[in-house]
């Protein structure tokens, strides 16, 4: 059952419009509607705020500003993952970035709330802010904190300068990546229903426990009083790891009015209030022998941060494990700006980092006149090059070889700008993928009921990742049940605590915990049966027991699970399983755990307009054991397409006068649409990583992005001979480098 391409068990509900997201509940009657009012300056303070006109507007129940908010907890910076920290809102008169909420209007209908919002009369004293990353790059500083409280910002091995200076072939280039945004299709939304002191919180969230902790510490109430409900999440991509303004504002309003209140951010607000990937400038230096072996690698990253709240994207961290080289250096530096604070956006770190490093590797391959696949194979490390520990289950070379074969890499044009099909300049590109495999404490319970069905429960979420489906498969496998006799219930804070969906760890955290829960439940059932004189299995040695087809068999004797349970546990029988923290798992000390892949892309570039079209793309991945072939492939192709967007389309443009993202909607912030995406496929190699967990599985949700954009960028170079290092690669950056138009 594990690994099979089972259709999503939540699929029929989703395609029928019956899956209910945070904003779509009426259990407590008709909620009021909150509408957020955002600051129209980038830096400064509110000097006067007059709510009288808005309050008089029809249907308005309440207007909340920083004058009205109750006392709020401050973020505890000692909590390593910020998603669990308090998130105070409307807490001060100063404005720290454009669009920051300055008021909430609550009305009987959405139309009334929206109409009243512009009637809130606000005067600001604006101040000069810093919004231009390139102009402020000289202000970069070295952060003194660890990334996520655990990863050093800087590392050095050997003597980089000496190694680089004496290398016969050198690449020293700077790449820039823009502001990018998660932009899940479901807006960030929250509906709060007050019940006495308790709050039922329907919120679009990736991590239930973090949402509860963050709300409780902000509101300064007992976490047990908060009941999170989030059975379906319309995408997160990092931006729903933590709750944002909509949640705290809905909670304040619901408590003040003692009525259900719901708040959704508008698509435009989402750009300023959630999920922005920092813009970066990355210097990559590669020094190599003439045979392609690297002697020195440096990856130095400078990125923006909000001046008041630091965020460090781990952009250079996977470079530490990617290729062998005796002399190495990685660094992260921050440029303080008056822009929204960066947040984790899908594949934080690897997405922009591998865009730069895997482009630089391509540049090195051309400098050496070597096949870029071969260059990577020559630099395969035996041990993790910085930590000195062995890799668990590293199959990068197999991914490269298998991908090259399937894609037909041997027919690539070895010279750039050498293949022409009519008006199209055609090019092939490739890049390697690597992403750390993470693990975090997670509990899952499984209960067998007297009717012979199993119920799996965890506060784990399914954000489109397939959690419902893979947990169904693991329970079916663990208890010998057909999948239609397993029901999975997720996304409620009453259920056993998980670390949610993020960091590509959700699937393996929760499936490993469930696998253990099933083990414990099997032991309970066998003990029950062998002690039960009425059981056909009475007194038999449980060592040879098999759980199949909804029953237990020992030798020739067998009994159905429902008989055992109904007779001995009429209310059902339950067991819990657990996954440990990385710090409690010695494999994380003794091995470097990653998943791997190789991307291959073919593009056509219009010789006259420089329009770039993706023609086909293939990724071959190694992720240990696959839990569901269908949903894993979907995750991987989704990630690859994010890579295409990063290479060719996505870019937030900042108004240098106010720090506003001027293209803050889905018409102007371009994301891939159907017409941009031709044939994209993902293949996963058979595997089993016994160091990762008992199931041998590793995360897939972010691996697809890692390196994908670089494969496309390298294909553009191969097609045109034009190397664009300022992402995204748009036609006006390519056009000046193209040969003159044909006559």
């Amino acid at each position: 059952m594990i690994g099979q391409a089972l259709d999503r068990v939540d699929g029929p509900a989703k395609v029928a419009g019956q899956a209910t997201y945070a904003y779509e509940h009426w259990d407590d009657g008709q909620p009021l509607y909150g509408f957020v009012v955002g600051a129209t300056i980038g830096t400064g303070r509110i000097t006067r705020i007059d709510t009288a006109r808005a309050e008089r507007s029809p249907g308005v129940h309440m207007v909340m500003t920083h004058h009205d908010t109750p006392a709020q907890g401050a973020p505890d910076l000692s909590i390593p993952f910020e998603y669990w920290r308090a998130f105070p809102v409307l807490s001060r008169a100063d404005v720290r970035h454009y669009g920051e909420p300055v008021a909430l209007v609550v009305a009987a209908t959405f139309e009334q709330a929206r109409a009243a919002a512009p009637l809130v009369d606000i005067e600001y004293a604006g101040e000069a802010g810093s919004y231009d990353f390139a102009a402020c790059r000289h202000q970069a500083y070295a952060p003194d904190s660890l990334i996520y409280g655990m990863i050093p910002t800087d590392t050095a091995v050997g003597d980089f300068d000496a190694g680089f200076d004496t290398a016969p072939v050198r690449i020293d280039e700077r790449y820039t990546t823009p502001y990018e945004f998660s932009q899940p299709m479901e807006p960030h939304a929250c509906l709060v229903e007050p019940h006495g002191e308790d709050l039922i919180v329907h919120v679009s969230s990736q991590i239930v426990d973090a949402a509860r902790a963050s709300i409780a510490s902000t509101l300064q109430i007992d976490p047990e009083r908060i009941h999170i409900v989030t059975p379906y999440v319309g995408g997160g991509f990092g931006s729903k790891l933590r709750i944002h303004h909509e949640t705290i504002l809905a909670a304040f309003a619901a408590r003040a009015l003692n009525r259900p209140v719901k708040v959704a951010l508008t698509r435009q607000q989402i750009f300023h209030l959630t999920g922005v990937r920092p813009t970066s400038s990355q210097r990559v230096r590669l020094g190599a022998e003439r045979d392609g072996r690297l002697v020195a690698i440096a990856h130095e990253v400078t990125m923006h941060t909000n001046r008041h709240e630091e965020y460090i994207e781990p952009t250079a961290t996977t470079t530490r494990s990617l290729y062998a080289a005796p002399h190495r250096l990685t660094r992260h530096r921050l440029v303080p700006l008056d822009l929204p604070r960066g947040e984790d956006v899908r594949a934080p770190g690897e997405a922009p980092g591998l865009l730069a490093v895997e482009s630089a590797m391509d540049e090195l391959a051309y400098a050496l006149e070597m096949d870029p696949v071969e260059l990577r194979i020559r630099n395969e490390p035996e041990l993790d090059p910085e930590r000195g520990v062995p890799f668990s289950d590293r199959h990068l070379v197999e991914c490269l070889r298998d991908g090259a074969r399937r894609f037909g890499w041997e027919s690539r044009p070895a010279q750039a700008a050498s293949l022409r099909e009519g008006r199209w300049m055609v090019g092939y590109g490739m890049a390697a993928a690597i992403r750390g495999h993470l693990q975090a404490p997670t509990k899952v319970a499984v209960r067998l009921q007297a009717d012979g069905t199993a119920v799996v429960r965890s506060d784990m979420t399914d954000i489109g990742t397939g959690t419902y489906t893979i947990l169904t498969q693991v329970a079916a496998d663990g208890l010998g049940l057909p999948p239609d006799r397993v029901r999975v219930e997720l996304g409620r804070s009453e259920f056993p605590v998980s670390m949610g969906s993020g960091g590509s760890w959700g699937a393996t955290n929760s499936c490993t915990a469930l696998h253990r829960a099933c083990e414990a439940l099997r032991e309970k059932l066998l003990a029950t049966a062998s002690n039960d004189a009425r059981s056909a299995l009475h007194g038999l040695d449980p060592a040879g027991a098999a759980f199949v087809d909804g029953g237990v068999r020992i030798g020739g004797a067998s009994e159905t699970l429902s008989e055992i349970v109904a007779r001995n546990h009429p209310d059902g029988v339950e067991a819990e399983g657990e996954t440990l923290a990385m710090t409690d798992d010695p494999n994380y000390q003794d091995y470097a755990l990653h998943s791997y892949g190789a991307h291959f892309a073919e593009v056509g570039v219009d010789a006259d307009t420089a329009e770039i079209r993706l023609r086909r793309m293939l990724g071959v991945f190694s992720v240990g054991r696959v839990l569901n072939a269908k949903t894993a492939r979907s995750q991987l192709i989704g990630g690859m397409i994010w890579g295409v967007g990063a290479a060719l389309e996505e870019e937030g443009a900042v108004d240098p006068r106010s720090g506003a993202f001027v293209n803050r909607d889905l018409a102007q912030y371009l994301v891939p649409v159907h017409a941009d995406i031709s044939e994209v496929d993902a293949v996963v190699l058979d595997g089993f990583d016994d160091k990762a967990n008992v199931l041998g599985a590793k995360g897939v949700g972010e691996l697809g992005i890692c390196g994908a954009g670089a494969a496309v960028a390298n294909a553009v170079f191969n097609a045109t001979g034009v190397r664009v290092r300022d992402f995204p690669i748009t036609l006006e950056k390519v056009l000046p480098g193209l040969p003159p138009m044909d006559d």
Binding site: V15, A16, S57, V60, R267, Q635, L666, A667, H674, V680
Partner: protein
């Protein structure tokens, strides 16, 4: 049917200024642009009073509580709100409910339900044409509308020869015609596969 028949209910305006405290009694007595209308949704007559500013999308979601139709942007930029009006696909966020009294509106809830799915819905499940599911009702309504446009011989930007129908449903045609529906999970290749499964299973 005229608007007078529908019983225009412009309430009289009167007003006392509310206080500046944070919680005020709502004022329902000012000029509220409310109309009583009847909509035909999924074959059922639905009578309701709506603020004339209410989009068809918000009417479906918030008044009729047919929340299968999704709001992704409210600006005609994502396609999550796609429904069929008189058999044609439209963005329901870009039109007002009061404009659709004589129309037949079909939402995802009217397509099929678990156990009795529409062929396009079933193909989306089979081909994994979605992940988070939020764009999905819009993609499915759009696909149904798009297949009808193909049957009617409407050309698209991707049609090489617009002069000689029928137009073959190539992958390029599907991609071009579905580009008004964004999927941030990027299930695009699987959505195209699902539409192909349906079109190949249909009588030509």
């Amino acid at each position: 049917m005229s608007e007078a028949d529908a019983g225009t209910t412009w309430a009289a305006s009167s007003g006392v200024a509310g206080g500046t405290s944070t919680a005020v009694e709502p004022r329902r007595d000012e000029a509220l642009p409310v109309l009583a209308i009847t909509l035909n949704v999924n074959g059922r007559e639905r009578r309701l009073e709506v603020d004339t500013r209410t989009s068809l999308l918000d009417t479906l979601r918030e008044h009729l509580r047919l929340s299968g139709t999704k709001k992704g942007c409210d600006h005609g930029q994502c396609g999550a709100c796609t429904v069929l009006v008189n058999g044609r696909r439209i963005y329901s966020c870009l039109t007002l409910a009061v404009m659709h009294e004589d129309d037949e509106i079909v939402t995802i809830e009217g397509m099929g339900e678990p156990g009795d799915l529409h062929p396009v819905q079933a193909a989306f499940v089979e081909c994994d044409g979605f992940q988070c599911g939020y764009c999905t009702p819009g993609q499915i309504c759009s696909a149904v509308g798009m297949l009808a446009e193909m049957d009617a011989g409407w050309p698209s930007h991707a049609t090489a020869d617009v002069s000689s129908p029928p137009i073959a449903l190539s992958d390029e045609e599907i991609r071009e015609r579905m580009s008004g529906n964004i999927c941030r999970c990027a299930a695009y290749p699987n959505i195209v596969a699902a539409i192909r499964v349906v079109s190949e299973g249909r009588p030509g």
